[in-house]
């Protein structure tokens, strides 16, 4: 048995740079919130998405109770969309807040008018204040923020169908939309860095089911390169689904890491990114973490470790009903694999 020699924060930051670590870090670029953890610290949804103290308290359980090396307080994907005026279905404790995409706020690129002080809105400020709280409370843990990419914001503000049709019919208009919305991504990313975040997750839902790898290259690769240059902390790109066809493009963006889905094998993904970007993932959520036992979770973690994946964690925001013992099994598998005490 050996002992860990790095702090959680040092470990995560090193893995994001693909530098040596004392053990593989457990990283959650997306939410680890569950209804039981909400009860444990009395910080239930939806309020834990809107009040910074509750947001920070619930997020901290990922480190204090589950043993992750990172804390990620931005559970949902709607904070900045709410701040710019999208209508939100806030839901209850046991479900996710969502943007009402059937009631879009924009119809054409010319409608996009984002006020200069959009980050003063409470749902953006909540994120920034939660990061400040966590930075003070956990100086040795990696704090990860989240800023949504313009493709996802396009879905939220135009509606999925309208935005996808626009991307098929009018490339110039689509680029106009993305160029206007990217301001939100950059400004929110920079603000979170200033609040104390060590890295930001950047979900941009050019998902494998609806958007091809070629589409990614055409519309998003350059924008993602721009984010890597403008946002002064490491970026973890998150795209759901089967994405091996675009991992090569993603690896060339200059982003630090790609948070990848269980629909992609660990070995093929490592091969696809060619050592140019770190990978984080990819324990399956709906089947393995939610409904199978700890041994199946450990098997998936081991597959990632054996493939050399730099950081392990769930593939996406975990279901709110996920059993705590399944989440703790992720850490147990890493500790066992590295022979640590």
């Amino acid at each position: 048995m050996t002992t860990a020699t790095m702090t959680s924060r040092e470990r995560v930051l090193a893995a994001l740079r693909r530098e040596p670590v004392d053990r593989t870090p457990l990283v959650n670029p997306t939410s680890l919130a569950t209804v039981e953890l909400m009860d444990l610290v009395d910080a239930p949804f939806p309020n834990a998405n809107r009040e910074p103290e509750l947001m920070a308290r619930l997020a901290a359980t990922g480190h204090t109770e589950l043993g992750f090396d990172s804390i990620m307080p931005v559970f949902s994907i709607i904070q900045e969309s709410s701040a710019i005026g999208c209508k939100i279905q806030w839901e209850q404790k046991d479900n996710w807040p969502t943007v009402k995409m059937t009631e879009p706020i924009y119809e054409s690129p010319s409608d996009i008018d984002i006020s200069d002080d959009w980050m003063e809105e409470p749902d953006a400020q909540c994120v920034l204040e939660a990061i400040r709280i966590l930075r003070r409370q956990f100086p040795d843990v990696a704090i990860i923020g989240k800023t949504m990419g313009p493709w996802s914001l396009g879905y939220h503000t135009f509606g999925v169908e309208r935005f996808l049709l626009l991307s098929l019919d009018d490339e110039a208009a689509t680029r106009d939309v993305l160029d206007k919305l990217k301001r939100i991504t950059i400004e929110f990313g920079i603000a979170q860095a200033e609040a104390g975040a060590d890295a930001v997750t950047l979900p941009d839902h050019a998902t494998g089911d609806l958007v091809s790898g070629e589409y990614y290259r055409r519309y998003l690769q350059e924008l993602h390169q721009e984010f890597a240059e403008e946002i002064p902390i490491p970026i973890i790109l998150h795209i759901c689904g089967r994405t091996v066809d675009r991992m090569g493009y993603i690896a060339d963006t200059g982003m630090a890491a790609f948070h990848y889905d269980s629909k992609n094998g660990a070995e093929e993904s490592m091969e696809a990114v060619g050592g140019k970007i770190s990978l984080v993932g990819n324990v399956n959520n709906p089947t393995t973490l939610y409904s199978r036992g700890a041994e199946d979770v450990k098997d998936e973690v081991r597959r990632n470790l054996e493939a050399g994946v730099q950081m392990v964690g769930p593939e996406c925001a975990i279901p709110l009903q996920t059993p705590i013992e399944s989440l703790r099994a992720i850490r147990e598998a890493v500790v066992e694999y590295h022979g640590l005490n």
Binding site: D39, N95, L210, P323, I324, E325
Partner: protein, 212 residues
């Protein structure tokens, strides 16, 4: 209060109990030298939570015919066969939350009027964990409901099908109380399964492109 690591495997969850501040309650399968036991647990410290845990535990025992035991300091229940029937335990747990706190905790009988016909359904115990599903004579042109109810019980409780109207618990022990409770649900299998699907999909975050 830290996370409990000695509760065993969570097999079912009520994520919001409207009768107790929308608190979450889990049903945990805990292994003991005498066989598996079930523990009801909540991480909430809100007032009334302990009392609610005690009520649900008592309801499990009464409605499911389970034995009250203490396991590792936790009040628990176990099946009299000392085995574990996962599907039945999950459904029993969920049903306990439907009972009014001042409601009747008597076990349900092995006979019930069918909700879809004029027939009466009876579960006749054959011993060794086997039950024959019987339906009273059907009206002209109406199919006997017994085979459909037997198939529904097989799916809901995950018990063995011996023939088209006979089912049996694999442990070989009778569970009259569980069967009485499941008889009510088996009459509307589709609704039970639909409810299960809805519960399973709730709380799962989907990409914007997959949201309705």
């Amino acid at each position: 209060m830290p996370v409990r690591t000695d509760l065993g495997q969570r097999v079912e969850l009520v994520s919001m109990d409207p009768r107790c501040h929308d608190v979450s309650f889990g049903l945990y399968r805990k292994e003991t030298p005498e066989g598996p036991v079930a523990v009801v647990y909540s991480y909430s410290t809100k007032a009334g939570t302990d009392e609610r845990v005690a009520f649900i535990t008592a309801a499990l025992a009464a409605l499911g015919g389970l034995e009250l035991v203490v396991a590792g300091g936790d009040q628990a229940v176990r099946l009299p066969c000392r085995d574990w029937h996962n599907a039945a335990m999950k459904r029993l747990f969920l049903d306990c939350f439907r009972v009014e706190p001042t409601g009747d905790l008597s076990p349900r009988p092995l006979q019930a009027p069918d909700t879809r016909s004029e027939q009466t359904i009876t579960l006749a115990p054959l011993g060794d964990g086997a039950y024959r599903v019987e339906s009273s004579p059907a009206a002209d042109g109406e199919e006997p409901r017994a085979p459909a109810i037997a198939r529904a019980l097989v799916r809901l409780v995950q018990i063995e099908e011996l023939d088209e109207t006979t089912v049996r618990f694999p442990c070989g022990r009778d569970h009259h109380e569980l069967m009485g409770l499941m008889l009510v649900r088996a009459q509307n299998l589709r609704a039970s399964l639909r409810e299960e699907e809805l519960t399973a999909s709730r709380g799962v975050l989907t990409a914007p492109s997959a949201q309705e």
